[in-house]
């Protein structure tokens, strides 16, 4: 679904991505992990064409993403920090974003209902708590039934119950054949979600493996321990 070829990105002299090659296929839930500043977010943003790479290319459904804005119809993005126009109500923001994707016919309102957003439709964005805004971001990412979901630290800031709802939703969508890409620092949380793991260090992909393969190779039971194991042995 997503193919990344020799992707390089530098900010000034700082090389953030050093020739990344990745193939991400559907029906997978992929955890993108790595220490701070390893290039996770830059890679994420490159796929969304928010960051324009120095070299290399990205293909989504075998089409280059450059000079092509339509491909983002296939992507639902949940940013790490969602901020919206302060004076707008939730309803207005939702309807504006709907109007930007006129092709979508089947809306996925699961999260919308589970998070009880209908009660809040007239609330102003500026008055919402960080957690509620995070819920709105999640609703927006899933609402358009995109084939690819990109979630940047999705559960940070959500209460445990809401985080659980989101995790179940992620599982459900993955089983429907979607590609889910998650970054998170909470490795324990990824354990019951991901089917593949991409580990990045200093702008390189250290490994990209099936979750089960990783566990077998390291003889560990949790992602946190497996990663520690890998780091110690290399």
């Amino acid at each position: 679904m997503i193919k990344i070829r020799k992707l390089k990105k530098s900010f000034g002299k700082l090389e953030v991505l050093k020739s990344i090659d990745l193939d991400l296929s559907q029906s997978e839930c992929i955890g993108l992990i790595g220490p701070n500043g390893c290039g996770k977010t830059t890679l994420f943003k490159s796929i969304l064409n928010m960051v324009i790479p120095t070299q290399g290319e990205i293909l989504v459904n075998n089409k280059s993403i450059y000079g092509n804005d339509i491909y983002r119809e296939n992507i639902g993005f949940m940013p790490q920090i969602g901020r919206y126009p302060e004076n707008m109500s939730i309803g207005q923001v939702l309807s504006t974003l709907k109007s930007l994707r006129p092709q979508t016919k089947n809306f996925d309102m699961d999260l919308f209902n589970q998070y009880e957003i209908p009660r809040l439709l007239n609330k102003k964005m500026g008055t919402l708590s960080g957690g509620t805004r995070q819920k709105i971001s999640a609703v927006l990412a899933f609402m358009f039934n995109p084939a690819i979901l990109m979630l940047d630290e999705p559960t940070a800031g959500l209460d445990p119950l809401s985080a659980e709802i989101l995790k179940d939703k992620i599982q459900l969508e993955k089983n429907k054949g979607k590609l889910v890409l998650i970054t998170s620092h909470l490795l324990s949380e990824l354990d019951d979600m991901v089917s593949e793991v991409i580990f990045m260090q200093e702008g390189n992909v250290t490994f990209h493996k099936k979750y089960t393969t990783l566990m077998l190779e390291t003889k560990e039971h949790t992602l946190a321990k497996a990663i520690t194991h890998v780091l110690k042995t290399t």
Binding site: D69, P79, G82, P85
Partner: protein
């Protein structure tokens, strides 16, 4: 395009500042005509206010609004929409609200106290100055990621166009007073949108006569139909060129 613009428009109107801006302009416009004994003097005072307050408001409001919308702009960019469309929609929403506030606030007293030509010229001037300085505000906000720096640039732009440029022109006038510099002065004024606006308005008043020989040359250039076209065109360039530059930068920018 219109949907994002519409959203920005509603957002700005609900943010009461634009409303207060309109009320302040309304009070200023009414009071200058009430206080001055002739409408000409009132118009001159209003012109000076317009040339100071409107650029400042347009520059600062648009620059700060863009910085505050950074995350929302990121979310919009992640949608299947062209970046250019997002940027121009933001411009559309901001300019329509601020320029609209100016027109709504000033048009009634202007029509009551001045001739139609003067009222129209002043309204169009305020409208155009708003568009120009929002366009410049877009440049200020895109050249730096640092909010303080961006707002600093916006303030420096205002200082330059509202105060420094005039000083520069005066300096040149005195330095080259012995030469026939009227024509170069006309050309020089094209480099400042506020000068263009001022001259266009002065030409509609009797005050042009006070400007002496230079005034006569200006009148010859700007008072005629052709002059209006030229200044109008120059103002249009002042809107389009900065907007074009900022759009180009925004299209290639890493968010």
């Amino acid at each position: 395009m219109s949907k994002i613009g519409h959203l920005v428009l509603i957002d700005i109107f609900k943010n009461k500042i634009v409303l207060i801006y309109a009320i302040v302009l309304l009070i200023i416009t009414w009071s200058v005509f009430m206080l001055e004994d002739t409408s000409g003097k009132g118009l001159l005072t209003l012109l000076n206010v317009v040339l100071l307050v409107v650029p400042l408001m347009s520059l600062l409001f648009s620059t700060i609004y863009l910085y505050n919308s950074a995350e929302f702009i990121e979310l919009l960019v992640s949608q299947p929409v062209k970046r250019q469309q997002i940027w121009l929609s933001l411009y559309f929403g901001l300019s329509l609200s601020l320029a609209g506030a100016f027109v709504v606030a000033t048009i009634i007293p202007l029509l009551l106290f001045c001739s139609l030509a003067q009222a129209l010229m002043m309204t169009i001037t305020g409208f155009a100055v708003t568009l120009v300085f929002i366009s410049l505000g877009f440049v200020a906000s895109i050249v730096s990621r640092d909010k303080a720096k961006g707002i600093g640039i916006a303030i420096l732009m205002w200082l330059y166009f509202a105060l420094l440029f005039d000083g520069l022109v005066l300096f040149l006038l005195f330095q080259f007073a012995e030469y026939p510099i009227e024509k170069p002065m006309v050309i020089l004024s094209i480099f400042s949108p506020l000068d263009l606006a001022r001259i266009n308005n002065l030409m509609q008043m009797d005050a042009a006569a006070l400007m002496g020989y230079t005034g006569a040359v200006f009148k010859q250039y700007f008072g005629s139909g052709l002059g209006l076209y030229i200044t109008g065109f120059a103002m249009l360039l002042w809107v389009i060129v900065p907007l074009f530059i900022s759009t180009r930068i925004f299209k290639r920018r890493d968010l």
